[in-house]
């Protein structure tokens, strides 16, 4: 049987300001009719660029050589108008960012009608009817009415459904799905994947499933390609690769799930932090002088406690209030209630009264790109807290402390003369951790410290954090949406939803026997795929 897409010696180079970047190095593979091929790799592996190049969608500074044949028709070097005849009809693509993939200025009905009429000679009215049917097919409730909605009026999951509807409008032979669920919450992820599986069986199309998440691969695909640094390092049946990975990199990837467990704390360890009945309400200013206001309850009466050396995992989906709670403890968000840190009530303190306490109460943020001041050198960044809390130190003493803190997070201390933009995401997060531990804190609040990183790097950061905790007896408040990481980090877990804690307990028992309905759903979405395929997503063979 002839493959849907046959890629031969595909080679991609980008001209950049810093010279040429060889993104994809002569890769060859094929996708058979109706099959699901997973293309796995971390950021920079070239997995997305390969498929974008095949569809003629590379950025303007990219150059392609080699061959990519769709149903025997050469795509590389084809004219844009020839490609336009195929794209949307024979091959379509869905992208990672549902928030930005749709044009914000047009209704989704208008966008769907445009797509339908591009390859089909039908009237506007007929196209609109068909658009409603398509929305219905991707299970958007009240489809006909939603045609007049604008993208910003829909949630991320719904937008991704619209995107799928547009991609499948003409029943393509091949759907390229580029990390279609990465930006979504886990429960929504599961729904979208299930939808894709159902539609695939219905339409019999092939799917190229690009992902960094091996858990999804096992759930979704039969065959897999592992890419790294622009090359295919391993290629084979999913079952074989999972049971007998040949390449070291594949092994590392499979092993990249944060493993191990945290050693338990002593029962008599002193309590470092208690937070009682914490509420955070936001006022949204309206009107020209901000006279009218709207109250939003982000955190709604939450209580937690933390012992020295203990890690509390704070779990929830976006909008659950978990980050706001964490920020309210370090007074980055205005809260009411009682926060007691080492026998001092924090909330009534003035800015200058709380300053000395901050030395032992530190925070690491989610975005390693945003949390480092771009115009300061790494040394300045790491030692900034010392300026505040140990003003007696000379510049060279500060520098020495910064160097040893960098060593502790396993970075070359020589790097302190460089600037944040010269580092990778994982290195930057290490710098952020160094900035926190240089002050020798007792409690560190970790706000999704690993979620912007690749799996293999996540694993290393988790190990580093556990290691630092053991060495310095740190207490962690670990905020995350990723249950696998939380399992590897936390003694106890608190699950948050809509500003409230719905369930709290010891890590192992909570994961084994979730009581709250919401926790069960969360767990099902996050873990079941790792052991068995989700019902109904079996690809047709």
């Amino acid at each position: 049987m002839a493959p849907v897409l046959a890629i031969r010696d595909l080679d991609i180079r980008f001209r950049t300001g810093a010279g040429e970047l060889h993104a994809v190095k002569r890769v060859s593979f094929a996708i058979e009719k109706g099959e699901t091929l997973a293309i796995v790799g971390e950021s920079g592996s070239g997995k997305s660029q390969t498929m974008l190049a095949a569809l003629g969608l590379l950025a303007a500074n990219g150059g392609v050589t080699g061959s990519a044949k769709l149903n025997g028709i050469e795509l590389v070097g084809a004219s844009q108008s020839a490609l336009d005849e195929l794209r949307g009809r024979k091959v379509a693509m869905i992208f990672q960012e549902p928030m930005t993939s749709l044009d914000p200025l047009y209704t989704i009905g208008a966008q769907l009608v445009k797509v339908l009429r591009r390859h089909k000679p039908i009237s506007r009215v007929a196209a609109r009817e068909e658009a409603a049917a398509l929305l219905d097919r991707v299970r958007i409730p009240d489809a006909a009415a939603r045609l007049d909605s604008y993208p910003h009026e829909m949630s991320g999951g719904q937008r991704q459904r619209v995107m799928i509807a547009m991609a499948l409008a003409h029943g393509p032979d091949l759907l390229v799905a580029d990390e279609p669920t990465t930006a979504l919450d886990v429960t929504i992820q599961a729904e979208i994947l299930e939808l894709l599986g159902a539609l695939q069986r219905e339409l019999g199309m092939a799917i190229a499933f690009i992902t960094h998440d091996l858990g999804l691969v096992r759930r979704f695909a039969k065959r897999v390609i592992v890419m790294r640094g622009g090359e295919i390092v391993e290629h084979g049946a999913v079952a074989d690769i999972f049971s007998m990975p040949k390449h070291d990199y594949t092994k590392a990837l499979l092993d990249a799930e944060p493993a191990g467990r945290k050693a338990p704390v002593a029962a008599d360890a002193p309590i470092v932090l208690t937070a009682d009945d914490i509420r955070v309400e936001y006022e949204i200013l309206r009107g020209m002088f901000g006279r009218r206001t709207l109250m939003v309850k982000a955190v709604d009466g939450v209580s937690i406690a933390l012992r020295a050396g203990e890690t509390l995992g704070l779990v929830g989906e976006s909008g659950s209030g978990k980050s706001t709670l964490a920020r309210s403890i370090v007074r980055l968000a205005p809260a009411t209630g009682l926060v007691r840190f080492e026998d001092r009530a924090l909330l009534p303190l003035s800015k200058s009264e709380i300053r000395p306490i901050r030395k032992t109460l530190q925070m690491v943020f989610q975005d390693p790109y945003g949390s480092l001041s771009p115009r300061m050198s790494v040394g300045e960044i790491v030692s900034e807290g010392l300026r505040v809390h140990e003003p007696g130190l000379t510049a060279s003493q500060r520098d020495a402390r910064a160097a040893s803190a960098l060593e502790e997070v396993r970075l070359d201390p020589e790097m302190r003369r460089r600037f944040p933009h010269e580092f990778s995401g994982g290195q930057r997060q290490r710098i952020a951790i160094a900035r926190a531990i240089v002050l020798r804190p007792k409690l560190v609040i970790l706000d999704e410290p690993t979620s912007a990183l690749d799996r293999t790097i996540q694993k290393a950061i988790v190990e580093l954090l556990r290691d630092l905790q053991a060495r310095h007896g740190l207490a962690y408040l670990f905020v995350s949406h990723d249950l696998a990481t939380v399992r590897a980090m936390a003694d106890r877990i608190a699950v948050m939803k809509d500003g409230k804690i719905v369930e709290e307990g010891e890590t192992e028992s909570l994961l084994a026997n979730p009581r709250a309905d919401y926790t069960r759903r969360l767990l099902a979405a996050a873990f079941t795929g790792k052991v068995e395929r989700v019902k109904g997503i079996e690809p047709s063979s």
């Binding site: 530190q362 480092l372 300061m376």
Partner: protein, 365 residues
């Protein structure tokens, strides 16, 4: 990678150096500025020195007086001496003139030569016919008017350079005023946030609705055509954009995690402003500055063009262009030279601004 590391400024400088249009513009601007600052001392003619004998001389690389100017000038002086020049011969920079008159020529009247812009003092070589025939030697007074002269006989090169001083000075000073007000206002509004911010920005909105060209004209007309007032007026009007830009920057920087990180470290408000916020607003400020300078220069020349700006004998490019536009028929050089200087400056500043923006914000390329 070297261990020294590259700050974002160093990176930007490197990118700017690669932008040929921007570097050429920068070099050109430096050249222009040097010419305007030091040029007037080297030209040899003061910008306000009037040469009555050189009115509307066309531009020329040759020394004045040129041959075709000499004979008529000699004739004119001769007629004042009630004599005729019967023979004029030239030897390098000196003329040998034979003057003949029906009566004896009063030698004191030879001072007319010296009074002319063309000649130095005349020396009598020989006297014949009882002084009715004089042979005099007159050295030529050499003058260069590379850009020609204006309707009053003033050296256009000197005037253009002096005008450049004025235009550039106004451009820089007014921009400085505008940027200072704008940065402070915007940073305060953005950092304060909430109702203070809303109120301060509402005031900016009101000022935006003022017909500002009309306001500048009113200021200048009613309070006198004063150099200082000019740039205060312009600066006071042009700060609005800067305030908006800086406020927007401050607001978005305030939400960035590195500011939150500094707060959790216990860094004071001053520390946050000076180490984390201000350095990061400087990029857009620098870019806006390079784009505001040409705007202000243009505004000044516009006011001068209307006769509301710099007053004679002081001059600016706008004044010269206005003068040139009035005399455009037959004397195009009066328009061409100041216009070239002005547009070159504006062009270069714009290219430099564009280059800086690309260099400081590499996403745009």
């Amino acid at each position: 990678m070297s261990t020294a590391g590259n700050s974002l400024w160093a990176d930007a400088a490197r990118r700017l150096r690669r932008n040929r249009a921007a570097t050429a513009s920068l070099a050109m601007l430096i050249l222009l500025a040097l010419a305007c600052v030091f040029g007037p001392m080297l030209v040899g003619n003061a910008y306000d020195r009037v040469y009555p004998d050189y009115v509307r001389v066309p531009p020329s690389l040759q020394a004045q007086p040129t041959a075709d100017l000499i004979a008529p000038a000699v004739e004119r002086i001769a007629s004042r001496l009630r004599a005729r020049a019967t023979d004029i011969s030239r030897d390098g920079d000196t003329l040998k003139i034979v003057l003949e008159a029906p009566r004896a020529i009063d030698e004191r009247s030879l001072a007319f030569f010296e009074r002319s812009d063309l000649f130095a003092a005349a020396r009598v070589m020989s006297r014949e016919d009882d002084g009715k025939r004089l042979t005099v030697e007159v050295p030529l007074e050499r003058n260069y008017f590379f850009f020609g002269t204006d309707g009053n006989g003033r050296d256009l090169l000197a005037r253009t350079l002096i005008a450049g001083r004025v235009s550039l000075a106004i451009g820089l000073l007014a921009t400085f005023v505008a940027i200072s007000i704008g940065v402070v206002y915007g940073a305060v509004a953005g950092f304060a946030g909430g109702r203070i911010d809303a109120l301060m920005m509402r005031a900016v909105d009101v000022l935006y609705s003022l017909p500002f060209i009309f306001f500048v004209i009113m200021l200048v007309v009613f309070f006198g055509r004063n150099f200082v007032l000019m740039f205060i007026a312009v600066g006071a009007v042009e700060w609005l954009d800067m305030a908006r830009i800086v406020r927007g920057q401050t607001l978005s920087l305030k939400r960035r995690e590195f500011v939150a990180a500094a707060e959790t470290l216990g860094v004071s408000a001053t520390g946050i402003l000076t180490r984390h916020i201000v350095p990061n607003t400087l990029g857009p400020v620098v870019v806006y500055t390079t784009l505001l300078v040409p705007k202000v220069i243009l505004l000044e020349s516009f006011l001068s063009f209307l006769g509301l700006g710099v007053q004679e004998p002081m001059t600016s490019w706008g004044v010269l262009i206005a003068d040139g536009a009035r005399n455009i028929q037959g004397n195009t050089h009066l328009l061409v030279f100041p216009a070239i200087f002005l547009t070159t400056t504006l062009f270069c500043l714009n290219f430099l601004g564009d280059g800086l923006r690309d260099a400081l914000d590499p996403r745009d390329r």
